[in-house]
Symmetry: C2
Subunit: 292 residues, 2 copies
């Protein structure tokens, strides 16, 4: 049971955790924190938070659990504001989509890896943003990855794990570098393809027609491309290295595929498509469990 939860960034991810903990009677009071008074008032009116303030330092006062769910580019600033303001027993965790950058921010602000900070990432989300898009079931049957370090207090990990399990998630741990590579492959790369495809088609001209005849494949891709540009800019900047490596691999794959199409090599095409379909079918269970 969390007595006082501070949610810094009451959007899709932060708002959904607050709603889910409330729905499961797992939290006493929820304090929200953000930049826009209007959004915070809306969050309060929706019953997602009990009270709010705009200063992260004030928001965390007396909180036993702090969840940071702002865009990755704003996390260092939040760390700087909460430094020295935390309660003795407070545990801090976050929902940032990249973990290496968040840990680098922590080291830069606190001068060391804080024992009470548990880096985390719920593998859950939608292409929508803001508190209006939040809902209490978002984390049900989803995975949450924690990337604790040698310095991290095992009790802090335990409390964060318990929180996520309370809202229906399966919690696993992995190294920071491994997390950032796996996510570059399974989430960041697909989003780049979706943004790149929609942008490439937009630049073709005669847009209306292209989009009017947009076929099923395209529709699925383009939904992804409606995700927040700011969030994805931050993810790209924060995971630049692993994502660049993945884009290079994908580039080689597409060169191979394009060459087979150009030289009309039906055997090679059948091999690539068949391998992709077989992999898809082998892992379909895993795939259907995960979201964004």
């Amino acid at each position: 049971m969390i007595e006082r939860l501070a949610v810094i960034g009451v959007g899709l991810i932060g708002g959904s955790l607050a709603r889910a903990l409330r729905a499961n009677d797992a939290v006493g009071e929820v304090i929200g924190c953000g930049r826009s008074i209007e959004h915070l008032e809306r969050a309060q009116a929706l019953g997602v938070i009990d009270a709010y303030c705009q200063d992260p330092g004030k928001a965390v006062a007396n909180a036993d659990m702090v969840f940071i769910a702002v865009p990755l580019g704003a996390i260092a600033g939040v760390f700087a504001r909460i430094q020295g303001q935390l309660a003795e027993q407070a545990v801090i965790t976050d929902g940032g989509s990249v973990k290496g950058s968040v840990i680098a921010d922590a080291v830069q602000v606190f001068g060391e890896i804080p024992s009470w900070f548990v880096p985390g990432h719920p593998i859950a989300g939608t292409e929508r943003s803001g508190v209006e898009a939040s809902f209490p079931e978002l984390y049900q049957n989803r995975r949450v990855i924690l990337t604790p370090l040698a310095e991290t207090d095992p009790q802090a990990i335990e409390r964060v794990r318990a929180m996520w399990e309370r809202v229906g998630s399966e919690v696993t741990e992995m190294s920071v570098a491994h997390h950032d590579e796996v996510l570059a492959a399974t989430s960041h790369l697909p989003h780049m393809l979706a943004f790149g495809l929609v942008d490439a088609l937009t630049r073709l001209g005669s847009n209306d027609e292209i989009f009017r005849y947009a076929a099923g494949g395209f529709r699925d891709f383009s939904r992804i491309a409606s995700s927040s540009p700011e969030m994805w800019r931050d993810i790209c900047l924060a995971n630049s290295e692993a994502l660049t490596a993945m884009l290079t691999r994908f580039g080689s794959e597409m060169t191979e595929l394009s060459d087979a199409i150009r030289r009309k090599d039906g055997e090679a095409l059948l091999r690539i498509f068949g391998r992709a379909r077989a992999a898809r079918e082998r892992y379909v269970d895993g795939i259907d469990e995960g979201v964004s």
Copy 2:
């Protein structure tokens, strides 16, 4: 009203048209034709066809409408078998995903553009194949593109148009080359990205884990990659030129995006992602209407 419909290739596309025409009381008798007796018997047991034979030449006897829905690589063979076997008033149309290759096949077999042949393509489908996957609502509120030529009999076009309208489709006409370019952009390219992504991830090794943490974006892509490898090989071979051009354009787009990520150019990323999202939102109505 069609008195006798011959469906050559009773799979997802052919089976669904037969079912839809029956559901709308728009057809008398339906004759199915395919390679596998087992599949044809299944189609008959499901009530999709009334009778069947394995020879396209026999199947079209006395048919007033013939719908060819075999993979693109098999269309020339079907043309060769039906030559000289058609009834006087018969109109032939097809559902092939590429139109240039089908027309080249017709010219090669018949020595000219036959006036009674109306090239067509329903912009509808799923990633599943075979008669078991067919259903009568597939074409409802979908677009069908016809690409008639100067030689095509206007009355033949009218009969094909009426057939598709009867099952709830909106029929439009465009030139062969334009069809093949628009489809390369909106359907063939997205499928290549999906196949390429899943195959690239498969080759990364440690598959289980990659697929276990597969996020939302990836799940949508990978569903597309479970489409029939044979059908997509044929589409690539048939539309090699337009698809190669689209792959090249997409490659330039991805090079630009990758470069921005490598040099951590947040402004450039925001520009690309913002443009994609804006296009997506502008055309979202068109997108939600079309499928595969």
